[in-house]
Structures are given as C-alpha cells and as structure tokens.
C-alpha cells in the first residue's frame, strides 16, 4: 500500500494525465456503440471543450468519468484511479473530488437555491457553520445573492444553470465536468459562465466542458476534442469549432 501511495504522488509530481481514456467503448444496448475506441489524455489544470453533434457520445464520456456508467470495454482513469477497480464503498469518496453540472441541471425542485447548493455539502457531512459561510459566498460569486430563498421554478434558465454550477463548485473539486453549462442561455450569460469557468480553471481545477456553443469555443482558444458518431475525430490545442453540428 505504501508503494502505491508513492506511485500516486510521483504521478502527480510529473503531471501525469489526471484523466485517461484507454480504448474505451460503450454500447448501451445491442446496437451501434455510443462511443468506440476512445483514447484520450487530459492533464491536470487543463481546460478542455468536448464538441460534436447531438448523439455523438459527449454525455456518455462525462458519465463514464463520473462512474455513472461502466465502459463496455477499455479503461477509464480519473484522478489517478482506475475507475473499474473502485469498490462500492469508494465510489462516493471518489465522486467528492469531481464537480459536475448535469446537462439538464438536475436541481431539487422542492428546495430553495440555498438548500440546493448546501445539499452538496450536507451530503459529504460538512458542518453547518461551514455551510452557512461557504454557500452564500459561492452564490454571491454566481450573482445569486438575491435569490437564496427562491425555488428553481422561480428562476430563469440562466439562473438555474448558475445554481447548478454553484453546487458543482462549492466543494472545490479537483475536476469540474460541465455538460452543456450554457445550454439555453443567451450569449451574454453564456459568456459570463465561461469566464467563471476560466477563472476556476486558473485557480487549478481541471475543467471539461461539453458545449454546442460554436462562438464561445472559437473565442476561448482552448483545447477542443471533437466527437462524431461516437468516434473522436479531432483533438486540437487552441482549437476551434470546426466539425459537426
């Protein structure tokens, strides 16, 4: 055990990839695979866009990284862990290092904004005093200080998006997975959210963003991975939104 710890530390020190897809394929039912033979490495501190047409397998990749689903073949490593070898009891702990914004927000409809974000901290057993301090601070960063008591149904799409982002970030994750965080936002709101993600990335969090927003991808000049029909067709540093849609 001491050995594996040292290995992990060594891997971190040489900035080994924090996310690795090794020949990963995923078929949901019998039929065409959602993704096939994906090979991919993402280093700690990178900012990566995943783009591609609808149904090309982007969300599938996010779900694999969260161990929400298992690959049909191949291996996924995240945060220096082989996800296929995580035991039942270790999965929860693993997920605590990953912040996630779901494609459809997945806010709790019966709880207000404060509780939706606090939820992420309660789940991991944070003391109430910490929750009372950190949740309003995070919501104020998202510009939602006025909305603490609102229910999700009383918020605009952009506001809900920001609540989801606040929930993903409040525990200061090592990796942020955001599945279309600007899905139905106007350009101004989308841009604001992207600036936020960029700031978080500059503070050290590895950020992976799935998006259809061509303009933003082109403007941000980050690494862009393009999916088409479950196949990774291009992977460019400082790329643009060239394929698909």
């Amino acid at each position: 055990m001491a050995n594996s710890y040292d290995l992990k530390k060594a891997l971190k020190d040489i900035e080994a990839p924090v996310i690795i897809f090794e020949n990963v394929s995923k078929s949901y039912q019998k039929g065409t695979p959602a993704i096939s033979n994906i090979n991919l490495q993402i280093r700690k501190g990178e900012f990566v866009f995943i783009v591609g047409s609808s149904g090309s397998g982007k969300s599938t990749m996010i779900k694999l990284m969260l161990k929400e689903i298992e690959p049909t073949s191949g291996k996924v490593f995240v945060n220096y862990k082989d996800l296929s070898r995580l035991k039942n009891g270790q999965v929860a702990k693993y997920r605590r290092n990953i912040g996630v914004v779901f494609q459809n927000f997945r806010l709790l409809k019966d709880r207000n904004v404060f509780e939706n974000v606090a939820f992420a901290q309660r789940v991991i057993g944070m003391p109430t005093s910490t929750i009372r301090r950190q949740v309003p601070a995070m919501l104020s960063v998202m510009g939602l200080s006025e909305k603490l008591d609102s229910l999700p149904s009383e918020l605009s799409g952009g506001e809900q998006q920001r609540v989801a982002l606040a929930r993903a970030l409040v525990n200061k994750p090592v990796i942020l997975l955001a599945d279309e965080p600007t899905g139905n936002l106007d350009p101004k709101n989308s841009w604001d959210i992207m600036q936020l993600l960029d700031e978080i990335n500059k503070k050290g969090t590895t950020v992976i963003v799935v998006t259809h927003n061509q303009e933003i991808v082109n403007m941000m000049q980050k690494r862009v991975i393009t999916m088409n029909n479950g196949i990774l067709i291009s992977d460019e540093q400082k790329g643009g939104y060239t394929h698909g849609t």
Partner: protein, 301 residues
C-alpha cells in the same frame, strides 16, 4: 456520524413521514394496535403470574399420619419429604396447635371450654408442605401418599395449576395475534418507506452522483421507520398507563369473588418491564421494515 449529519438525517426522516402522511399514520396505527393488545395481554399474564406466585407460597399440601404413629417416624417422613426438589419448606403442626387453631377459628369460648383438656383432634398432627414449583403438586401428592405412616394427603383444589394453564393459553393466543399484527406493521412500514423512496428517486440519484455514501442516503429512511415505531409504541403505552387503574378497579368490583383473594401488580411494577419491551418491539419493527425496503430499493453503487 457527525452531529450535523445526525440532525440532517433526523430532519429528512421526519420530512419523509410528513410527506407520506396517510401511510405513516396507517403504520403507526397498526403498531399502536399491536402493542396495545400486547400491553393488555401483558397485564393479564403478568398479574396471573403474580397471583400464581402468591398462591404458591400460601397454598400448600397438608400431610396427616396414621393413628398412634411414633414421633421418630414423623421426623423420618419429614426428612423424606424435604428431599424432594420441588419442596420449599416443611412445617410441623402438632395436634395441640391444630386444636388451638380450630377452637380459635370456629368455636365460641363457652363451647370450647366444654372440651376441657381433651383434644378431639388428637390424631391431627400434620405437615404443611410448601412448594416452589406448583406444577409438581400432583406428583408430590402421589409420592407422599405412598410413604409408610401417611394416612391422608390434602391439597388445594389446584387453583394455581389451572391459573397456570390459563396463563399459557392467553400467552399462545396473544402471541399469535401479535405476530400477525407485527407482520402487517412491517408490511405497512415497508410500503410507506418504498413510497418515500420512489418520490425521492431523482434526489437520491443526484445525491449519489455528488458523492453521498449509501449510508447517508439510507439513513433518513431507516430513521423514518424507527420514528414510526417509537410513536407507535408511545401511543399505546400512554393509553395503557391511564387505563390500567380503571381496568383493575372495574375487574375487582365486578368479579370480586374470584379475585378478592389475589392482589394486583402495582402499575410501576408493570411498566418497568412493559415500557422497554414495547419500545424495543416498536423500534425493532420500524428498523426491520425500513431496512429490508431500503436494501431492496436502493441499489448500491
């Protein structure tokens, strides 16, 4: 579990109950009915047991001897009887004592004086034998009858024995009814909890994806079951507590002839045992009902 998590879990558990009011109430009602019956039967059984115990120490077997028996033989018989395991004590009552008792109880002074120094009960020296196990009375009587020098063995008309078999009958019937009610209670709790789970499916799924442990997710539902169990135990306990006195005085008034010989247990004496037993049963079925449901419906990952 930290204090914060504890209170959060408690709050969620109560929230589950309130959301699912109808089924929670049905579950509480069933446990209440179950434990109420249990309490009633417990009253009966505990009091009968108490009565039997009192009967055992007061009701004895009386042994009379052949006419003209020697004192040595009487002592020998006493020793033989004492050797039996079920015998608690043997008391010798001389013919003189018996006569004195008899005179005192049944004869007026004048009438008694007419006997002078004669003892009409000259052959009525006896042993009073006390048992520590009333169910052995029949066997003991048969045994003593066969001892040389024993003329007659009297024994009480088996009140204690019939009490005991009645007690056993009450025990079996109540046991059966309580087991059926317990099964219904477990079923209702299970239904209540699984409805709660299906309402919160989305929430549970999100919790898992943001790193909640299985334990954290399951705990509120277990707490829900336990709270239902505790409430279901407290309600009948409170009702029974206030009922007990009334019931006892009602029984002693109505059936005074049967029961006047017996004392009833103090209420504190009864609740000393009944309260923890009822609470344990309530908590037990609450825990069991919710635990099996949570195991069935909340798959681990």
């Amino acid at each position: 579990m930290g204090l914060n998590t504890f209170f959060y879990t408690l709050k969620q558990g109560i929230k589950n109950i309130r959301r699912n009011r109808m089924f929670s109430l049905a579950s509480i009602g069933t446990i209440t009915a179950c434990l109420f019956m249990f309490g009633i039967f417990y009253f009966v059984v505990a009091n009968f047991q108490y009565m039997i115990k009192t009967a055992e120490t007061s009701v004895g077997v009386t042994v009379f001897f052949d006419a003209g028996i020697s004192e040595d033989r009487i002592n020998e018989i006493g020793d033989i009887i004492k050797e039996r395991g079920e015998v608690a004590a043997v008391e010798y009552i001389s013919a003189e004592e018996t006569w004195e008792n008899y005179k005192e109880k049944y004869l007026s002074k004048e009438l008694a004086d007419t006997f002078g120094d004669d003892n009409p009960l000259a052959d009525s020296a006896s042993f009073s034998v006390y048992l520590n196990d009333i169910s052995m009375q029949g066997a003991l009587v048969n045994y003593i009858k066969d001892i040389d020098g024993v003329r007659q063995v009297n024994h009480s008309n088996n009140v204690a024995e019939s009490l005991e078999s009645f007690n056993a009958l009450v025990g079996y019937i109540s046991g059966a009814i309580i087991i059926i009610l317990l099964a219904v209670a477990v079923f209702l709790i299970s239904t209540t909890v699984s409805m709660g789970i299906s309402v919160r499916k989305e929430e549970i799924y999100i919790m898992k994806l943001i790193g909640a442990t299985d334990y954290f997710i399951r705990a509120p539902f277990i707490v829900e079951g336990i709270i239902i169990g505790i409430v279901g135990a407290l309600v009948p306990l409170i009702v029974l507590y206030f009922m007990y006195h009334k019931v006892i005085s009602y029984i002693t008034e109505k059936y005074i002839n049967i029961f006047k010989a017996f004392e009833f247990l103090e209420i504190g004496e009864i609740f000393k045992n009944l309260a923890p037993i009822a609470l344990l049963i309530g908590i037990g079925i609450g825990f069991f009902g919710s635990y099996i449901t949570v195991r069935k419906h909340l798959k681990r990952y």
